[in-house]
């Protein structure tokens, strides 16, 4: 237990110590929220832009920490032989992964608090089911942390850097984060619909709506994505 706590502390410190990590996890999602909300850019069908934007940015926060920050950091840890060296200590791989997940969840709590505060300042009021939204965030974390770790353990560090950032941008634009996928032109809408970011954002919208329901289809989609990524990772992940 002592080892798990110490490793989690180290993971958190290293996340916050990296400028890029801080930017992508704690600055970009709230900054985009302020930008879009202030410009009142939001699709029709929503009474207030913030009702569309806040769930989007919560989903983006999960992607920022799981895919981008965790993925890139882990890829460089692999590159520098840190994963290998830790493997020769009694910490073990299970607790190393456990510590990474705990650190990701801790950062997400901070991200969510900041985003909700910004949301409230733009007129958002708590509605829907906090419990369901929380469960949805957990499922999304599983998907995007798996994706980040899969890329980190499969590709070189430089490739991971490019791939994680590229996917992040792609998902913001086509994956239902900045704009609903239904409004995308033609085939792009179909692609967007299948992306995990869309499943996560739309599930969060559903759970935070005034009359929330279980986002069964979206959670199912996230679960499928997670299983697919884990199956790939099992074949390709390398610790060194």
């Amino acid at each position: 237990m002592r080892a798990l706590i110490a490793q989690t502390g180290m993971e958190l410190r290293l996340t916050l110590r990296s400028g890029e990590g801080l930017l992508v996890t704690l600055v970009i999602p709230p900054a985009l929220l302020v930008f879009f909300a202030a410009l009142r850019i939001a699709p029709s069908g929503y009474d207030r832009p913030i009702d569309f934007l806040l769930p989007s940015m919560l989903a983006l926060a999960v992607m920022s920490i799981g895919l981008v920050s965790l993925g890139i950091r882990t890829a460089y840890e692999r590159h520098y032989g840190v994963l290998k060296r830790l493997g020769a200590t009694p910490l073990g791989r299970g607790r190393l992964l456990g510590a990474k997940i705990l650190a990701v969840l801790t950062i997400e709590v901070v991200q969510a608090l900041i985003l909700v505060l910004v949301g409230v300042s733009f007129g958002w009021r708590p509605s829907g089911s906090i419990v369901l939204a929380f469960l949805t965030m957990l499922m999304g974390t599983a998907t995007f942390a798996s994706l980040g770790l899969f890329i980190a353990g499969t590709f070189r560090a430089e490739t991971t850097l490019a791939l994680a950032n590229g996917l992040y941008l792609l998902l913001i634009l086509l994956g239902g984060i900045a704009w609903p996928v239904e409004r995308l032109p033609g085939p792009l809408a179909i692609i967007g619909l299948a992306l995990p970011s869309n499943a996560l954002a739309s599930a969060l919208r559903q759970t935070l709506a005034p009359s929330p329901g279980w986002p069964v289809a979206q959670l199912g989609a996230l679960l499928l994505w997670t299983l697919l990524i884990l199956a790939l990772a099992r074949r390709t992940f390398r610790w060194e």
């Binding site: 080892a3 490793q7 410190r13 290293l14 990296s18 032989g81 840190v82 060296r85 009694p90």
Partner: protein, 319 residues
């Protein structure tokens, strides 16, 4: 969630005086054998150096012993345990220094030692370790800003945190300046005095010569020599080195009855090969006396482990 530091006796069938037993070890990478039928035994408390040119199979062997890789065939026992199948029981008892890296670039020596201390049941005090390896003054500087030598010394300290019975040091002093290297050597000698078994690989044959109780030279995955450094150097009496104050006539030297071959080593030094070293010494000194040449140095056998190594492997050891 700590792993018990005791090993069930059923798992330790090896005699207690053997820290490492390797028998007919084979490891192939995509069909090509990298370690090919290697056997050796390391006694408890011994400092054992593994030498060989690049690609000889040193690191593969060490990494099998550390539990990173699975042998294709053969038997390996480390502290009486199978490092692949009993790695959880083994890890708390060994200390590992990788050939490079292994440390978060953005973490400080203090943080790294605190972190590693939390992994072991009875760790050594991080502050004492910082003092021991001479990193107290940079204990709050991030790893990436440390000098190469300081980085290696932190890696060494991290290998010691768990108070290991057995230390694996893969090229511990590469990248150190001479002063740091000497400090590290005296540290390693100190670990040895405390009874820690040490398996070391190195590019510096002087290091093996000074530190090792026994040296194993491997090449192409085979063991080609295993002895104390002194034995290895004196083994080859057919080799005579001679130094004179002026250049000698190589053709004249070659004509001496007992000489088989002569090689100039430069700066007035010559290496002679012979099947009859006793006779050669008589012939050589008489020849020098007759020609009025003062021989300033005369040595039978090899002068350094480096020469032995060159002869046995036909390879320079450096990368």
């Amino acid at each position: 969630m700590t792993v018990p530091n005791t090993v069930p006796t059923a798992l330790a069938p090896e005699p207690v005086d053997h820290a490492i037993v390797v028998e007919n070890l084979v490891k192939r990478y995509s069909g090509r054998p990298v370690v090919d039928g290697l056997s050796f035994t390391i006694r408890r408390g011994e400092l054992f150096a593994l030498l060989g040119p690049n690609g000889a199979g040193k690191t593969t062997t060490i990494e099998i012993l550390e539990g990173y890789r699975r042998p294709d065939s053969g038997t390996v026992r480390v502290l009486g345990l199978d490092p692949w199948h009993n790695s959880d029981a083994l890890k708390p008892r060994i200390g590992v220094m990788l050939q490079s890296g292994g440390i978060y670039p953005a973490a400080t020596p203090h943080e790294m030692l605190q972190l590693f201390a939390s992994f072991y049941p009875d760790p050594q005090d991080p502050q004492e370790l910082l003092h021991l390896v001479g990193l107290e003054e940079v204990s709050h500087i991030r790893y990436r800003y440390l000098s190469g030598g300081q980085q290696r010394r932190l890696a060494l300290a991290l290998a010691l945190v768990g108070k290991p019975e057995l230390l694996f040091l893969d090229e511990p002093t590469t990248g150190m300046d001479p002063q740091a290297r000497r400090l590290t050597w005296s540290l390693i000698e100190d670990f040895k005095r405390r009874g820690i078994t040490i398996l070391l690989t190195t590019h510096f044959l002087e290091e093996a010569e000074r530190l090792a109780d026994r040296v194993a030279i491997i090449d192409h995955g085979h063991l080609i020599a295993l002895a104390t450094p002194r034995e290895l150097m004196q083994y080859e009496a057919e080799h005579v080195t001679v130094t004179a104050i002026r250049d000698l006539d190589v053709t004249a030297l070659t004509r001496l009855p007992s000489v088989q071959a002569v090689r100039s080593l430069g700066e007035g030094r010559y290496a002679l090969e012979t099947g009859r070293p006793m006779e050669l010494l008589v012939e050589l000194t008489r020849w020098a006396y007759e020609h009025g040449i003062l021989l300033t140095e005369l040595r039978v056998g090899y002068q350094s482990l480096e020469e032995v190594f060159l002869r046995l492997t036909g390879n320079e050891i450096r990368e």
